[in-house]
């Protein structure tokens, strides 16, 4: 660095809102962050980018005051600060919206909004004042939420909005958003982006974690890339190419994220006609799936595409319609019967619906095949057979670290996902439904998961791919159905599956 540059950097310092200098975080046995530098300017959206486990979460939890650095320091508006608690960080106007919500389900929206910062007069809650302020905050943010409803009755997206609104109790200076759009609909995402633009104009600095390339382009100013706890680079968000970003993130050239798939559709496996579920989430949906093809189910979060697949699998009550699988009527059979017939559904929420977090990877992999060879002979489990199978699957899916006896909770999100997806290989399934198979997974792992799905398909399995991520549907499916409010708006095939065609049906009003 020349002396002139250094001079320029020092002058720029004055405009820095937050600076992390040479920050290291040591956990027993592992360095989560190693000498990381990070800076945030006023009115900037700074993207943090990296694989699962690269250290992004550790960095933001330190900025939010939830964890302390082992060495290194933070500067706020140029002067050193100690962010020893969430309270101290909040006093500086730093608030974070993490992926894991910190909401009390039984409490109402307004009670949650002011939790820990309730307004009182001589020890008595000022409920009217709190109600007024809650309404003001939500109106200001243009969030349409019922303030008196308990949070448990809201959708996940609405809960996310409450979580964001919490950051606006006081005037924020820095807002940290950790994959905020993962569960938001298109409309809500747009709303959030408008909000971010407004905050930028006010000079608020925003730290934003996302894996989605389109979001980086749309709202990002600069990108800082972390890998294995190390600082790699800070680049311009508008001009850096996707390939370049992936190279910086993974340290290697990944090549194409989406594989080329040879579709070879054969006989029809699944025929669903006029299916309706008891919870009214699916109303008269008809779908057919053949061997050797990937059928995409597209639609917004809550459009009924997941519920449709769960109902087919026997995990939801059906009120009308028929399901035929391999030419036999299977309407209303239990999940166990469906599995025995060769149909597997892998849920989208791996933590709540998919994995036993405190059990080893091996047991999580074999869960759906416990009564089959090589895991057991029907009566007794075979420790050797199960361990061998788990080791093989771990190798095939590049589990990292490759330790199948480790409990799942100690793996990164991407590797947890692999442990769950491995279930589809524990025996020969004819039809596998993947529900959001790449949620919260980094690009490298995503590419591996796509290749894995493509391979299954080319080996003659039928695949149902349920996804809210449009590029996934566009690049991977051979045919696609678009769901809207529990009904199928369109069936598209081959070249018809374009962004424009799919999106058109995402929002289309129901005919009459």
């Amino acid at each position: 660095m020349s002396s002139q540059d250094r001079e320029g950097a020092r002058r720029a310092d004055a405009h820095l809102l937050l600076e992390a200098i040479n920050v290291t975080k040591q956990f027993p046995g592992v360095k989560a962050l190693d000498g990381v530098n990070f800076e945030l300017r006023h009115g900037e959206v700074h993207i943090l980018f990296g694989e699962n486990g690269a250290g992004k979460s550790t960095l933001i939890s330190m900025i939010a005051g939830a964890a302390r650095p082992t060495t290194g320091e933070f500067r706020f508006n140029g002067s050193p600060v100690h962010l020893d608690s969430v309270h101290e960080a909040r006093a500086l106007g730093i608030s974070a919206v993490f992926q894991e919500f910190s909401l009390i389900p039984q409490m109402s929206v307004e009670e949650n909004l002011f939790l820990g910062a309730e307004e009182t007069r001589s020890g008595i809650l000022q409920k009217k004042a709190l109600h007024r302020r809650a309404t003001e905050i939500l109106e200001d943010l243009d969030f349409h939420l019922p303030v008196n409803l308990p949070v448990s009755r809201l959708t996940r997206a609405e809960q996310q909005m409450v979580e964001i609104a919490k950051a606006f109790r006081s005037e924020p200076s820095i807002l940290i958003l950790d994959e905020p759009t993962a569960s938001l609909t298109q409309h809500e995402t747009e709303q959030l982006f408008r909000l971010i633009a407004r905050l930028k104009a006010k000079g608020v600095g925003i730290i934003y974690i996302t894996h989605r390339m389109s979001e980086i382009r749309e709202i990002g100013d600069r990108i800082t890339i972390l890998r294995d706890g190390h600082y790699i680079d800070t680049v311009d968000a508008k001009t850096t190419s996707e390939d370049e970003l992936v190279r910086l993130m993974t340290g290697r050239v990944v090549g194409q994220v989406f594989p080329k798939i040879e579709f070879n559709p054969q006989q029809t496996l699944l025929v669903v006609s006029d299916l309706a579920t008891a919870d009214n989430g699916v109303r008269g949906a008809s779908v057919t799936v053949r061997r050797g093809e990937i059928v995409g189910l597209a639609g917004l979060v809550g459009s009924g595409k997941s519920r449709f697949a769960q109902a087919c699998f026997g995990a939801r009550d059906i009120v009308s319609g028929t399901i035929t699988f391999k030419d036999a009527d299977v309407t209303g059979l239990s999940t166990r019967r469906m599995l025995d017939r060769g149909f597997l559904y892998l849920p989208s929420d791996r933590k709540n619906d998919g994995l036993m977090m405190m059990r080893p990877v091996r047991e999580n992999m074999s869960l759906a095949s416990l009564t089959r060879k090589p895991v057991s002979n029907g009566l007794f489990l075979s420790a050797g057979g199960e361990a061998r199978m788990a080791a093989e699957l771990a190798e095939r899916l590049h589990l990292a670290p490759m330790r199948v006896e480790r409990t799942v909770e100690h793996f990164s999100g991407g590797n947890q996902q692999k442990a769950m997806l491995a279930r589809s290989l524990t025996r020969e399934f004819d039809l596998i439904a993947f529900d959001e198979p790449t949620v919260g997974v980094d690009v490298g792992t995503r590419a591996a998961i796509y290749r894995f799905i493509a391979e299954l398909c080319e080996n003659g399995a039928a695949i149902l791919l349920i996804s809210s991520d449009l590029p996934e549907i566009l690049h991977l499916s051979n045919r696609a159905y678009v769901f809207y409010r529990g009904q199928i708006q369109a069936e598209l095939e081959g070249a018809e599956i374009t962004e424009e065609n799919v999106l058109k049906h995402f929002f289309e009003r129901e005919a009459a």
């Binding site: 469906m338 559904y345 998919g354 489990l381």
Partner: protein, 342 residues
């Protein structure tokens, strides 16, 4: 000098670090066992003798069997507060049936014993059947269900006996199952050993055994993997009750009477044994061999306190404190694990 000082400081860090790692891997139980053995052998010379330790083993049989049942309930993320009642009810019903059969046909001693045992175990198991139906079919919380059934069962046991002990069982029953020994080892210990072995095989080596861990680990994931979560929950409480009932019959043999007032401390002690043995209150984690050790530990502490002439009222205080200590230790362990994880 300075280097020596720093070296010794380093070695203490190493030791504490190693202890910490040991603690994370094994939990609190080994530490408690070591402390208990040291303390009680200092307090009484009779503690660390072969005869006394065999005594501990025999006295711990009942709690061990009940704790194994309790472990099943904890594994699936619930618990069973009615184990004490089940012990009492099986004792009363078993003794009544056995005494009646013996009175009717005094020459068929063994038939009377078998009828009594079957009746007692069936009666106890019925409490578990009701628990299981409530929890699995109607989604009643295990807390409420087993608390309610504890009252129901206790009431029935008192009603059947009028609160008076039941006499009239054949002499042989007590002689064999209560006081008998084979090769110097008491008969109840053999019964416990067979149960431990079967349960170990069942939980670790059969698919159905794995389902208990799966249901406690993540009930939704278990359901989506084709496991019948309702059936698993139902059998959890049935098995738990059956084990408690077996313990009830063994205790009846030891006491030579059917009593409605036994087993009152069983819910607390069995949960304590499991928790000290590292069974997670959140479900999904727990091992048979550790639970056996946990129950033995509680037996050891009670025995040691008796030898050290600690008053029985104070013993209850110690037990309660141990349970809380174990839960605190578990929390600390989780914190360590979380700090290692990052």
């Amino acid at each position: 000098m300075a280097s020596e000082a720093s070296m010794s400081a380093e070695s203490t860090i190493n030791l504490s670090d190693r202890l910490k790692r040991l603690f994370i891997r094994l939990g609190i139980l080994p530490f408690l066992l070591v402390i208990a053995v040291i303390v009680f052998s200092l307090m009484s010379d009779n503690f660390l003798t072969g005869r006394n330790l065999m005594n501990v083993l025999r006295q711990s049989v009942y709690l061990t069997i009940v704790s194994l049942g309790q472990m099943l309930a904890l594994l699936t993320g619930g618990f069973d507060l009615s184990v004490g009642t089940i012990v009492a009810l099986s004792s009363v019903v078993g003794a009544l049936a056995m005494a009646t059969a013996f009175a009717a046909m005094p020459e068929l001693v063994w038939l009377a014993i078998i009828i009594g045992c079957v009746a007692g175990i069936l009666a106890g198991t019925m409490i578990g059947v009701v628990n299981g139906i409530g929890v699995s079919l109607f989604n009643v919380s295990p807390f409420m269900m087993s608390l309610g059934m504890a009252s129901v069962g206790f009431g029935i046991a008192l009603y059947l006996t009028g609160g008076v002990p039941v006499y009239g069982m054949p002499q042989q029953f007590g002689d064999i199952f209560g006081f008998g020994a084979l090769f110097g080892i008491p008969v109840p210990v053999y019964v416990a050993a067979i149960i431990i072995l079967c349960l170990y095989l069942f939980l670790n080596w059969t698919p159905f055994g794995r389902y208990f861990y799966a249901v406690g680990g993540n009930i939704k994931a278990a359901g989506l993997s084709g496991i019948s979560t309702r059936a698993t929950l139902f059998w959890t409480y049935v098995f738990c009750a059956a084990l408690a009932a077996v313990a009830g019959m063994l205790l009846t043999a030891r006491l030579d009477t059917g009593e409605a007032n036994i087993g009152a401390s069983m819910p607390l002690e069995s949960i304590a044994a499991c928790v000290i043995a590292g069974v997670s209150l959140r479900g999904g984690v727990g091992r048979v061999e550790n639970v056996v050790l946990g129950a033995l530990f509680i037996g050891l502490v009670q025995n040691g306190m008796n030898l050290a002439r600690i008053e029985s009222y104070l013993q209850t205080v110690v037990l309660g404190a141990l349970l809380i200590l174990a839960v605190i230790a578990d929390q600390i362990r989780l914190r360590y694990v979380a700090s290692l994880k990052r």
